[in-house]
């Protein structure tokens, strides 16, 4: 049973669903809205905190994460208000990680100090690319210089700063990615997220792609080469991957995201936020209304933004843990998850034989060869 949620930690995710403009590749729950009444949203968040905290009071909180959308569009007082409310409900770990996702424009950089003062101690910035034509193609509003300035501002204010890049872009060559990544590693602090561009259905890119557009995307082989190069350069720079797309200096991993991959508990606040809470011997999966307007109405009128709350059975929770945990370089604890692993002994053995999985220090993990084909491994393990 997953009673020992402490193992994975406990975090709160706060979703801010608004952006300045919608990027063509993005399938996050993000919307462009001219006037957002942040006071109204503040009340709604407070109400949701009151509702969801029941039965969890006094737990020790290891992370809070403002994700989006673009949380750097939130007024600093709103961030502070939410943090204060959470701090009043939970025990706060000494080393609590409080992250805010930020878009690297000058306007937003102007708010960094205020976020810091409100309690934020880590920012994750969406730099995405280090050349102007690619930023344009990705529909980004910032230039390279503006991004770098915002980043410099951030690193002076915060001890911990991460940024995101998207690679395997249209017409990108292996050499171009090499020099771009080298540049990124030179400016990096302690954490980097490097995502291979994914064409998501329902996005502008997705539509163009399904109509035969979006020329120049890399082949599977070039994508794989780029991924391998990424591992190599980051490793050499002391920023190895600790998860499929996340790189950090040892000890600087994102605590929040580790909660997801280690199957800890998390509360989801805001529209479309998911949660997993272990209580009375069960793991409960929750979801809230996706559309910002609907969520707001529901919270205001019925006192709850929740759209789903479902008990997972022990096995289902363990399967989910396997699915998430194998993303980590360290893998999953063979003792904690023996219930699910025991049902897959033969499959695991087969995957070990072909060099996809291995056991190290009591953890089942992917090999270097297995890491890039994790979906196939999971298909074998979970969809067989």
């Amino acid at each position: 049973m997953l009673e020992d949620w402490q193992h994975g930690g406990f975090g709160v995710y706060v979703h801010w669903p608004f952006c300045q403009s919608k990027c063509p590749y993005c399938d996050f729950n993000s919307h462009v809205s001219a006037n957002v009444d942040q006071k109204r949203w503040f009340s709604a968040f407070l109400s949701e905190i009151e509702r969801t905290v029941v039965g969890l009071e006094g737990r020790q909180l290891s992370s809070i994460y403002f994700g989006g959308g673009t949380p750097s569009l939130m007024e600093p007082w709103l961030v502070e208000g939410i943090l204060d409310a959470l701090k009043s409900k939970f025990l706060i770990a000494n080393d609590i990680e409080i992250t805010l996702e930020a878009n690297p424009t000058s306007v937003e950089a102007g708010r960094f100090q205020a976020y810091h003062d409100a309690g934020v101690n880590r920012v994750s910035m969406g730099i995405q690319a280090l050349n102007v034509p690619d930023l344009k193609r990705l529909g980004r509003l910032h230039s390279v210089n503006e991004g770098q300035d915002a980043f410099d501002t951030a690193r002076h204010i915060f001890d911990r700063v991460s940024f995101d890049l998207i690679y395997a872009r249209q017409d990108q060559t292996l050499d171009q990615w090499r020099s771009e990544l080298k540049q990124a590693l030179a400016m990096s602090v302690d954490h980097l997220s490097l995502y291979q561009l994914t064409i998501e259905p329902g996005t502008a890119f997705g539509d163009r792609f399904s109509k035969g557009g979006l020329a120049g995307l890399p082949s599977e082989d070039l994508g794989a080469d780029m991924y391998e190069l990424t591992q190599e350069l980051c490793e050499a720079a002391g920023m190895p991957a600790y998860e499929t797309s996340n790189h950090a200096a040892v000890g600087s991993e994102s605590r929040h995201n580790l909660v997801y991959w280690n199957s800890g508990d998390y509360l989801g606040l805001g529209p479309g936020a998911h949660g997993r809470i272990t209580q009375y011997g069960h793991r409960i999966a929750t979801e809230t209304h996706l559309a910002p307007g609907k969520w707001l109405d529901a919270v205001e009128n019925s006192g709850s933004g929740e759209s789903l709350s479902r008990k997972q059975d022990g096995f289902e929770a363990q399967e989910e843990a396997l699915m998430m945990g194998l993303r980590l370089r360290s893998g999953i604890d063979e003792v904690r998850f023996e219930q699910v692993l025991n049902t897959k002994v033969e499959k695991i053995q087969g995957l070990k034989e072909i060099g996809m999985l291995e056991t190290a220090n009591g953890f089942l993990r992917t090999t270097e060869q297995g890491r890039p084909v994790l979906n196939a491994i999971l298909r074998e393990l979970l969809a067989g």
């Binding site: 995710y13 994700g67 995502y195 291979q196 561009l197 994914t198 599977e220 082989d221 994508g223 794989a224 991924y227 499929t244 797309s245 995201n257 909660v259 997801y260 998390y266 989801g268 479309g272 936020a273 998911h274 949660g275 997993r276 999966a285 979801e287 399967e319 989910e320 699915m323 998430m324 993303r327 087969g350 995957l351 072909i354 996809m356 297995g370 890491r371 890039p372 084909v373 994790l374 979906n375 196939a376 491994i377 999971l378 298909r379 074998e380 979970l382 969809a383 067989g384």
Partner: protein
Amino acid sequence: MTKLSNIRNFSIVAHIDHGKSTLADRLIQSTGTVADRDMEAQLLDTMDIEKERGITIKANSVRIEYKAKDGETYILNLIDTPGHVDFAYEVSRSMRAVEGSLLVVDASQGVEAQTLANVYHALDADHEIVPVLNKIDLPAAEPEQVCEQIEDVIGIDASDAVHISAKTGIGIPDVLEAIVTRLPAPEGERDAPLKAMLVDSWYDSYLGVVVLVRIIDGVLKKGDKIKMINTGALYPVDRIGVFRPGMEVIDELGPGEMGFLTASIKQVRDTRVGDTITHEKKGCTEALPGFKPSQPVVFCGLFPVDSAEFEDLRNAIEKLSLNDASFSSEMETSAALGFGFRCGFLGLLHLEVIRDRLEREYNIDLITTAPSVIYNIHMRDGSMVELHNPADMPDLTHVDHLEEPRIKATILVPDEYLGDVLKLCQDRRGIQEDLTYAGSRAMVVYDLPLNEVVFDFYDRLKSVTKGYASFDYVMTGYREDRLVKMQIMVNDEPVDALSTMVHTDRAEARGRAMVEKLKDLIPRHMFKIPIQAAIGGRIIARETLSAMRKDVTAKCYGGDATRKKKLLEKQKKGKKKMRQFGKVDIPQEAFISALKMDG
């Protein structure tokens, strides 16, 4: 009862798609048999597959009444027949039950291979033939040239061919008059002992087996005790009726008439088409000549993708064979595929139809193994065995020689594509027997191995001639040749379901084509997969499917767990469409697609 002189029985025959069923529609409609508001196109094609593919698979009979210009009312029994070569047997059988044929020719296409074949069947059955030129509404119609063609190629008089458009209705009254004035009335004795021909039978879930009969002599009534002369079976008749085209119960059927009977017969197999039906007492003693039974010529294995569905498959096959005596089945086991059935079909279309029906009507996903013909294996000890499945090929040390079935193929093709057709036939080990011209079209006759034709010959022929060639064949017999079994190995394991018999000279090319195809058909795995073709222990072709390199989802955070799980659920369903051979998943459609040759 109807006077013999007021009855006409005829079949509508033609090359595929020349408009038989549409003509039947018009005849049914213009005689008021079915009200206009109840009409639909190809009314007699009732099966889903017939409607979808727009072709007739099963012959159908209808009784219509027609008040002719001479003031008399006639009873017309028409049989609409299928055009596709796989169902040629249905056509020749139907013709035995009637006295005349409407030979429909598409005036924009002209005489085609099945037009010819049907004429031969009609002559065999001593039919009166009325040529009907259809589709004269089309701008491309050339009725005069086509008439000449009919006279040149077929050698029948086409000067009084009826010109019609079954689509618009032009000329339909002329067809009806021609039927009455030019086709002969049946002959028969009302007072003689009952003699009826068992033309067809099928299973109806409410009525049991329904038997289509043609009365030659005597009278058949409800309650009569009947006897099937060949099988000796006795039944009391429950019901007698005619098709209009819905079933209509009547009191009796007299000489020259066609209709149906039901008699609590359990299985279609209990009836034998061509059998003679008479009364148990005071019956006729002399049987009708009967029909040559239909023979399955193509065999393949059918296995459920999900082996847990074997029992469902067994049930489904039993039910289908209740209705279609022309396909055979027996249980088969395969090391890799588990339990399934080896089934025999009249041709590839027949195979596809049965497979489609199993999948759709019974909801079973199937793996169809490489189709094969029947080989005769002559053993060293002088005995002979039939090989229906290449997987059963006996040890070569005991084998003296092999024989394979050959066919005589007739192909009609516009001159400009003749070269391509000859090349295709040559590539398929054909021996040219005849080449004549009719206007700008060539008629080639080839002696070909059935094995080379059964699978994708027709598709290839259509593609190299842009659809302008037509093709018909008859089996001619067996001939010795240098044939070997070719095995396919995927990841070093032989996959029986992909074994085929090939000619030694063609083995290498075939093997190479198959492994190349399989390389595209099998999805990449986590490891590289050698795909090889082998004869005996000798590898004759090899490809390597390289390992998958990257497929991992880039981002997966809290909210993505649910989404990712849904994706895995979907993949679970997708995986059900594959079958595992060793460690390799092979998609269900690969077994057939791998055999399709591009040349």
